[in-house]
């Protein structure tokens, strides 16, 4: 019984963390699919979202409004970033593009330092501090929120791509940018939209995780890197697979931590990254779905 409850506990821990990775990974995939750029500043959007939301809430704004406003603000930042840093350098080499996003990440982190300092901040959970008990395992409501929100975001995006006209236009851009251009679809606008939406997803991830782990100016890097692994494990252009990858990474970390030791947690997830890259460079789920976005 106790083993069972430990298992359930680890499962939920993994799912919670996985859902955060999933939101950020989704952003990676969208940006990469549409622009071909791996945005290493993706994790910093989560940081900006969390800290902005915290500030808005503390200034007395209603919670829902604060969330919406901070997501909108981060989307604006993302759009600005796309116009000022990514567009002008689109034709550069991979190394240069990677470093540009790293440079942007420095800027975001530096600005956050100026605005909020180094102290970690707390954000209140969406719905109280209570917890849920399942098979003897304890699950915070915020964890449930995290999982629900990430799945809901995915569902929303999926619907967006499958059911809406504009979503299909984006999909067309991803599949065949040349043909999409010939149809009069403005790729630059799509790229702007993609980065902005990715930024919004990142912000949402940050807002969801902040009540669990707190928010500080340097939280972006690790979230970003882990989400990165998730995206690669899933296959960089495949959104459902990236989400599966995110949950896989989350669960793997959680079980490794629960049953083995936590010292090698990082090595385990990056080891997974290497294995996937070497043996299945298109991602673990490339064959299973075979479909992009």
């Amino acid at each position: 019984m106790e083993a069972w409850s430990q298992f359930v506990q680890l499962l939920f821990s993994g799912l919670t963390v996985g859902s955060i990775y999933a939101l950020v990974a989704l952003g990676f995939v969208i940006t990469y699919s549409v622009t071909g750029i791996l945005n290493l500043a993706q994790g910093d959007f989560a940081m900006l979202g969390a800290l902005l939301c915290m500030t808005f809430v503390n200034s007395g704004m209603p919670f829902v409004l604060a969330i919406g406003l901070s997501i909108a603000a981060v989307m604006a930042v993302g759009a600005l970033f796309e116009r000022l840093a990514i567009q002008p350098a689109r034709r550069s080499s991979v190394a240069v593009l990677i470093i540009i996003t790293i440079g942007a990440s420095f800027v975001f982190r530096g600005i956050a330092l100026l605005a909020w300092g180094t102290d970690p901040y707390a954000l209140r959970p969406f719905t109280g501090h209570g917890a849920l008990e399942v098979f003897g395992a304890v699950i915070q409501w915020q964890s449930v929120w995290a999982i629900v929100i990430s799945l809901a975001s995915f569902a929303a995006l999926h619907l967006f791509f499958q059911r809406t006209y504009i979503g299909k236009a984006v999909a067309a851009c991803v599949i065949n940018p040349f043909a999409a251009r010939l149809m009069g679809i403005d790729i630059r606008k799509m790229s702007l939209g993609a980065v902005a939406v990715s930024a919004g997803l990142g912000a949402l991830a940050g807002i969801v995780i902040a009540p669990i782990s707190g928010a500080s100016y340097d939280m972006g890097m690790m979230i970003g890197l882990k989400a990165f692994i998730a995206a690669v494990v899933g296959g960089l252009t495949n959104a459902p697979a990236a989400i599966a990858g995110a949950f896989l990474v989350g669960l793997l970390e959680s079980f490794a931590e629960g049953y083995l030791s936590s010292g090698y947690k990082e090595a385990i997830s990056f080891g997974l990254l290497l294995l996937v890259l070497l043996f299945m460079p298109n991602g673990l789920f490339a064959k299973m779905t075979g479909k992009r976005v």
Binding site: V107, L113, L225, Y264, A267
Partner: protein, 349 residues
């Protein structure tokens, strides 16, 4: 032919000599100022890593986001072998280099099947895994508490404990490293590498074994990094894993990209600009904003980086090279060329 060749190379040789003179003479300009010296030493160590990386990135066209791991291998090999196993520093340095090359070989064989973003990610993963080893393998690395009490390096039994001799030692290594890299670039191997960068299929069809050369250069760049790491360990005498994580790897990459991977000097110039930029921001930012702390420097640094890369994607040496070429073309070089052409023809005819 010989004569003209000499004429053309003579200029460059003078330039080189002048550069070397400045480099060796610098400490006398700042005599006694160990701060400037140690800045220069640090530049030199970074430059060594960077030179290896320019070969890898600029000439073999491969990206590495895990180079600090090799830097760390050198540092820890030197630290452990000298402090705990009692080896002489030079032997430890060589052992570290061999170890780094071996690791590069083992990692390189699978990893170099990947390209671009995927390669970058794989090397990043390698870097993180090595960092975990440095952190967790406490028996050898001392874990997160760090490794201290590393003995100084000795030349003919005399320990190098002050900055001036160390500066000369490092600068010798840098010069040798750049010389070695330059020689490679101007050889069959270097041409093959540049050919790979230009077009893999074409290079391959002309008999260049791409995998072999990529691996060799990756190993060589690992050796460069490892030697720099060894020297660093003996210089500061205290190391901890944070120096060899992914953040330093990213900094190395930044240096090389700033300097421009298209020239073997890119590593040195990138390191110099990177370090000076940091020191300069430290001096300038407080003048502009008296109350600003280090965070302003980070913002400025990030902005500069982005702007620089947008406008100079080939780095500083790329810009310099462009200017140099223009000068080269319009100036006396053309005359030399026609001379040269005639004389080679003459020799044959």
């Amino acid at each position: 032919m010989e004569q003209d060749q000499r004429m053309a190379d003579g200029w460059k040789r003078w330039l080189l000599l002048a550069g070397a003179a400045v480099w060796l003479g610098l400490p006398w300009l700042v005599f006694g100022n160990n701060y400037v010296l140690s800045t220069l030493i640090l530049i030199g160590l970074y430059a060594l890593v960077g030179t290896g990386m320019t070969l890898l990135m600029g000439y073999a066209g491969q990206i590495s986001l895990g180079q600090a791991a090799f830097y760390g291998i050198g540092a820890y090999a030197s630290a452990y072998l000298t402090a705990h196993a009692g080896w002489p520093a030079w032997l430890a340095l060589a052992a570290g280099a061999v170890l780094a090359a071996l690791v590069a070989l083992v990692v390189g064989i699978p990893v170099f099947r990947l390209r671009e973003h995927y390669l970058a990610l794989a090397t990043l993963g390698f870097g993180v895994i090595m960092f975990t080893f440095f952190k967790e393998w406490k028996g050898i690395t001392g874990g997160l508490n760090g490794f201290f009490g590393i003995p100084p390096i000795r030349i003919a039994g005399v320990p190098l404990q002050s900055d001036l001799p160390f500066y000369y030692l490092v600068s010798l290594f840098v010069l040798a490293g750049v010389w070695f890299a330059r020689n490679i670039v101007r050889s069959r191997v270097g041409r093959a590498l540049r050919a790979i960068h230009g077009s893999e299929v074409a290079a391959n069809s002309l008999g260049v074994n791409i995998t072999k050369y990529k691996l060799q250069i990756f190993m060589l760049s690992a050796v460069y990094a490892s030697i720099a790491g060894s020297l660093y360990a003996h210089y500061v005498t205290f190391i901890n894993p944070d120096l060899f994580g992914i953040v330093p790897s990213i900094y190395f990459l930044i240096m090389v990209v700033i300097g421009g991977a298209g020239s073997v000097w890119g590593g040195l110039i990138g390191a110099a600009v990177y370090v000076c930029l940091g020191e300069w921001l430290k001096a300038v930012v407080p003048l502009l904003l008296p109350d600003a702390g280090g965070e302003f420097e980070i913002v400025f640094f990030g902005l500069l980086l982005v702007i620089m890369l947008i406008y100079m994607p080939n780095g500083l040496t790329g810009v310099a090279l462009k200017g140099w070429r223009r000068f080269w073309k319009t100036g006396w070089r053309r005359q030399v060329d026609s001379h040269k052409a005639r004389s080679i023809g003459g020799e044959r005819g």
